[in-house]
C-alpha cells in the first residue's frame, strides 16, 4: 500500500485526500480557515502552509524550497510533509499576526469565543502580541445579512467560505465579496438578504465570529453548552445533528457531519425546528377525561379502570388549569400520576381486547422511534393478536427541495443535487412500517382505518401523535371521536388531545433516545440532550411499563431483541449503530 509521511509518521494514502485530511488521520492538526471539505479550494488564507517534498525511491527526500498550502496539495504517495519546522511555525505565526491585525479584541462579547478557530490557532500557533500601532480598522456591523444572520464585519478574515457555500452548495449566491484588497467585505445586495433554507450553515462555516446566528446571539457562552448527538426529525432526510443545551434548555442545533445521511450541513427548518420542545403548549401530565368538557374523570372510566386518587387529583389540577405554583408541596411530592395511569391503561386495553378485540385499533405515528413502535406493537399483539395496528397519516408538504439552485431558483439536475429537504416531514416512516409489517402482515394506512371508523367504528382507539405540528383536521378528529374510548399519546395540545378520553404526554426527540430510519433506509440512533420536561417521561418507559417488562429501558437491548424478532431489523443485531448509523434496508 503506498504511503506518505506526515512529520515522519507514515500513513496510507487514501484517494482524493489533501494533506490536511491526511495529516488529521496522522493526528496532526494543520490550521486552516478557508478550506472546507465540501467547498472548492481557494488556498487564500495561507494558514495551512507546510513544507512538502517527495521521498525518492532511493530513500532520499527532496523538499520543495517553497511552502505549499496543505489544503491544495493532494496527498500523493511518497509525499513528505513537515508541519513543525521553524519555517512553518514562523509562517503560521506571521499569518496569524496578519489575520489579527485588524481583528477586534472583542472576544468577550463575541458569540464564537470558545469555539473560534482564531482563538484556538492563536493559542496554538500564534504570537502573544500585535505590533500594530495604528488604530484598528473598524467597520459597520451588518445586521441585515439575513433573517437569522448578522455579520460583524470587522471580525471577518475573508476566508470566503460563506460566499462559496451560497454559490456552490445552496446555489442561491446571496453573499458576495465587495471591493478589493484590505477594504473588501462580505455583502448582500439590498433587498436580497441571505434567507435561503440553508442559510444557517454559513454561521457554522464561519471559522470566526463574523457571521452569527441571531437566534443564538448573546444567549449563552459556548463553554456552558453540553452537547448530545441527535438526529433531526423534521423530515425524512434525517440529518445527523448535535443538540447543544444548557441547564436543560436547548440553545441551538448544529449539523453533525455524516456522509451517509446528509453530509456536513442541514436546513434551517431543522435548525430552528426544535422549539416546540419548549412550547407552552406541551402536555405536562397525563389526564383522564376530556379537557374540553372540563370533566374530572368519567364515572364509566373509573369503574373500569379504578384510577388511584392521585391520578384524579392530578388530572383535576391540570384540567382546572391550576398553576403548579399554587399547588401545595404535598400535591407535587406525592401526586405521581403515572402508576395509576399505567394501571388504568392496562385494564382498559385488556378489557377491550377481551370484549371486542377486532374493535380495538392502535394508530402508529411516523414520528415514533423504532423501539417505541416495537414495544407498543409487541404489547398489543401479545394482549390479543386480533388488535389492529395501523399507520397514521404521514405528513407531506410540497415537493422535495433540492440544492444547489440555479441563478433563477431552479432545482438542479438529480446527479448534481448536493442537498435535499424532503417533502415527507416525518423521520421514521420506514422504521414504523417495518414494525407494522411484521406484526400486522400488511400496512393499514390512514385511508383504510378512517373509512372503517365511518362505517363500523372501532370501540377502543389508541392514537400516537408526537408530531410537532397540528396534524389532524377536525373532520378526522370527529371520526376518531366515534370510538368509545380514545387514548392519545402526543406532545402538544391539539384538537385531538382535547377530544381524547385519556391523554398521555409524549416527549420530543431532544428528550429521548431511540432509532429512526430515514428515507434511504439509514437507521441512526439519537440521544437525549435534555431532561424530560416536568411531568413528562419518555414514551418508551410508558410502553415498557404497559407491557409489564421489568427493568429500565436500555436501547441496545431492545434493538438486539428487535433484530432477533423482526428480520428486517437484522442490522440491529449488536444493538449499537455507531455514530453515523447503519443502513438497515435500501
Amino acid at each position: 500500500m503506498p504511503s506518505l509521511f506526515i512529520n515522519s509518521v507514515e500513513i496510507e494514502v487514501q484517494p482524493k485526500e489533501n494533506i490536511v485530511q491526511a495529516a488529521r488521520r496522522a493526528g496532526v492538526e494543520i490550521p486552516h480557515y478557508c478550506w472546507h471539505p465540501d467547498l472548492s479550494v481557494v488556498a487564500s488564507c495561507r494558514m495551512c502552509l507546510v513544507e512538502a517534498g517527495t521521498k525518492k525511491d532511493d530513500g532520499t527526500v527532496a523538499m520543495q524550497p517553497r511552502l505549499v498550502p496543505a489544503c491544495q496539495t493532494p496527498a500523493t504517495p511518497n509525499t513528505v510533509v513537515v508541519t513543525d519546522s521553524p519555517k512553518v511555525k514562523s509562517s503560521q505565526a506571521q499569518t496569524l499576526e496578519y489575520l489579527l491585525l485588524n481583528h477586534p479584541l472583542d472576544c468577550s462579547i463575541c458569540d464564537q469565543a470558545g469555539e473560534c478557530y482564531l482563538q484556538d490557532y492563536t493559542y496554538q500557533f500564534g504570537k502573544a502580541e500585535s505590533r500594530l500601532d495604528e488604530p484598528k480598522v473598524q467597520r459597520q456591523d451588518k445586521y441585515y445579512i439575513g433573517e437569522q444572520i448578522a455579520l460583524f464585519t470587522d471580525r471577518c478574515v475573508m476566508c470566503t467560505r460563506c460566499v462559496r457555500f451560497t454559490r456552490e452548495y445552496s446555489g442561491t449566491a446571496e453573499l458576495f465579496v465587495t471591493s478589493r484588497g484590505s477594504v473588501e467585505e462580505i455583502e448582500v445586495l439590498p433587498g436580497q438578504p441571505c434567507d435561503n433554507k440553508l442559510a444557517g450553515n454559513v454561521v457554522d462555516l464561519c471559522p470566526v465570529g463574523a457571521l452569527c446566528s441571531k437566534d443564538f446571539l448573546y444567549k449563552k457562552r459556548v463553554w456552558w453548552l453540553k452537547s448530545a448527538d441527535s438526529v433531526c426529525q423534521l423530515c425524512s432526510t434525517g440529518c445527523s445533528i448535535t443538540v447543544d443545551q444548557s441547564e436543560s434548555k436547548v440553545e441551538r442545533v448544529r449539523p453533525r457531519e455524516n456522509p451517509q445521511a446528509q453530509g456536513s450541513f442541514m436546513c434551517d427548518d431543522g435548525r430552528f425546528g426544535w422549539k416546540f420542545a419548549h412550547s407552552e403548549n406541551r402536555i405536562r401530565a397525563p389526564r383522564i377525561g376530556r379537557a374540553s368538557h372540563g370533566q374530572v374523570a368519567s364515572p364509566q372510566l373509573t369503574t373500569i379502570g379504578a384510577p388511584t386518587n392521585a391520578v384524579e387529583q392530578y388530572s383535576m389540577s391540570v384540567n382546572q388549569s391550576t398553576p403548579l405554583a399554587t399547588a401545595t408541596v404535598s400535591d407535587l411530592t406525592f401526586a405521581d400520576p403515572w402508576p395509576g395511569l399505567i394501571n388504568h391503561l392496562q385494564s382498559v386495553l385488556k378489557q377491550s381486547a377481551q370484549d371486542h378485540p377486532t374493535k380495538t385499533l392502535a394508530v402508529f405515528s411516523p414520528f415514533m422511534t423504532c423501539e417505541e413502535a416495537y414495544l407498543l406493537a409487541d404489547y398489543l399483539k401479545k394482549t390479543n393478536p386480533k388488535i389492529t395496528l395501523a399507520m397514521g397519516p404521514v405528513p407531506v408538504v410540497g415537493e422535495d427541495d433540492t440544492y444547489p439552485k440555479g441563478p433563477k431558483g431552479q432545482s438542479p439536475a438529480a446527479e448534481k443535487t448536493r442537498f435535499t429537504i424532503r417533502a415527507e416531514k416525518a423521520p421514521n416512516r420506514l422504521g414504523v412500517e417495518a414494525v407494522l409489517q411484521h406484526f400486522q402482515k400488511s400496512i393499514v394506512n390512514d385511508e383504510q382505518w378512517l373509512s372503517s371508523m365511518e362505517l363500523n367504528p372501532f370501540e377502543t382507539v389508541l392514537v400516537v401523535g408526537n408530531s410537532p405540528a397540528e396534524w389532524l383536521n377536525d373532520e378526522t378528529v370527529s371520526k376518531l371521536r366515534r370510538a368509545g374510548k380514545l387514548i392519545v399519546v402526543d406532545i402538544l395540545e391539539n384538537n385531538l388531545t382535547h377530544a381524547a378520553d385519556v391523554v398521555i404526554p409524549g416527549v420530543s426527540f431532544v428528550e429521548k433516545e431511540g432509532t429512526v430510519v430515514n428515507h434511504a433506509g439509514l437507521a441512526q440512533t439519537f440521544h437525549p440532550a435534555i431532561r424530560c420536561s416536568d411531568g413528562t417521561r419518555p414514551d418508551v418507559r410508558t410502553y415498557m411499563e404497559l407491557s409489564g417488562r421489568s427493568g429500565l429501558y436500555h436501547g441496545p437491548t431492545i434493538r438486539a431483541e428487535m433484530a432477533s424478532v423482526i428480520p428486517a431489523f437484522a442490522a440491529f443485531e449488536t444493538g449499537e449503530l455507531g455514530e453515523l448509523g447503519k443502513r438497515v434496508f435500501s
Binding site: V41, V42, A43, S44, C45, R46, M47, L49, Q64, P65, R66, L67, V68, P69, Q72, K87, S90, S91, Q94, T95, Y98, L99, L101, N102, R131, L132, D133, E134, V157, M158, V177, S179, R180, G181, S182, V183, E184
Partner: protein, 443 residues
Amino acid sequence: MNEAFEPVLLRRRGVAGSQTLAYYQQDGGYNGLQKALKMTPAEVIKVVSDSGLRGRGGAGFHTGSKWGFLPKNYEGPIYLCVNGDESEPGTFNNRILIEEDPHQLLEGIAIASYATGASVAYLYLRYEYGQCYRTLEKAIEEMYANNLLGKNILGSNFSLDVYLVRGACAYICGEETGLIESLEGKRAWPRIKPPFPAIEGAFRRPTVVNNIETLACVTHILDKGPEWFMSMGVPKDPNNPRDPGSYGPKLYCVSGHVNNPGLFELPLGITARELIEKHAGGVWKGRKVKAVVPGGISMGFLSADELDTPLDFAGPGKAGCLGLGTAAVIVIDDQTSMVDVLYNNCRFFAHESCGQCTPCREGTAWSSKILRRIRDGHGKMSDLKTLEDISNTIGIMPGTTICGLADGAAWPIKNALKKFRPEFEEYISKGQKTEMREALAAH
C-alpha cells in the same frame, strides 16, 4: 556594438502610417507568419526555443518551454491570452509597440497561436490604452479582410480568431491567472498553481499567456531566425548551468529624473549607467543619481554605487533586486527622500492587492500605514524592524502567497531598508515630516 545597433522592434516608430497593413506588408511584414505556416507547429516551437527568448513580462520565463508544456494532441480548444495589462509603474513599452506597430504584434500572435495550436487568442488590453485599443481594432479588421485572421489563414488549415478584451484598471490582471479570471468575468483573484495555465487555464482549457513584447520578438525570430536573435545580448554563464542567458533586443523604458525620458531598444545587458548617461540624457538639473528602479517598482532599488549593473535577466538579481522585470528604469535624484519613494511604492501595492491572501492583503496595507505615519513625523526606530519583518514574511519566503504581487511589494521595502537605512534612520530621529496636501491625504 551598441552604437551600431539598429532598432528592430521599434523600427517603424514615428513613421507616418506605420499602423496600416499596407505599410507593414510593404515593409516585409507577415514574412515570419508565412514561414511559420510552412513549418509544423513543433518546428516553430523549436525555433523559438532555440532563440533563447525569455518572456518580457517580468518573470523572464523561457517562452519555448512554456509553449512546450501544453498537452500534446489535446482534444478541444486551446487558448492564447495576450497579456496587455501592462500596469507596472514605469512601464510603457507595450503602449508604444501597439500604437506604432500593431501588426508586428498581431503577426506574433498568429505565429504563437499556430505554434501552440490555439484557435482563439484573447488580447487583454488595459483600459488606459484607449488609443491602442482603437488602433488594434482597426488592424484586426484589416487582417480579417486580408485572410490573415479567420478561417484558413493564408490558405493553410490554420484558423484563428483574435478578440480584444478591455481591462478595468486593476494591476493584478497583469498576473497571468488573474488575467484569466478577469477574462472569465470574475474578480481577478489569481488562481492557485498548480494546475498551471498550460494545463488548465482560461475556461478550464490549456492556455498560453504571453506578453506583448515577447510576441513582437517572436515575429522577428521567425523572420530572421534564432541565430540572429542569439547574436544579441548576454550569453549563458558557463559556470552556472541554470542560467539560460539573456538574448535579444529589449525595450528599456526610462522615466523619472532624467533629461530625456523615453523608450529605448537596446540589446540586453546594457548597464544602468550607460542607459541613463548615454541614452536618456543624464539626470535632470545636473543632479546626481540616488537610486534607480531597475525594472518596474516591484523589483526593488539599485543604489548609486550599483549603476554598473548590467540590465539583463540576471544582473539586477545579483545586486539584490528581484530581477529585471519589465526593464522599466525609474531614476530618482539625490534630492528626493527615499521615504516618500517607498511610501508611494507601498501605497501602490496596498491599493492593488487583490485581497485574496491574508499576508498580502494585511501586510501591504500595514506597511503603507506605517510609512504614512513615518511621513507624518511619528516614526519610531522599531518601525523599521517591523517593516523589515513585513517584507520578509509577505513575499520573500516563497509560497507565502498565491501570486507574485506580495513579492513585488516586499522587495522594494527590503531593498530600500537595506541600501538606504541611514536615510530612514535620520528621517525618523530628526522627526522629519513630508507635507501631504489634504486632497492626497484622504487616499
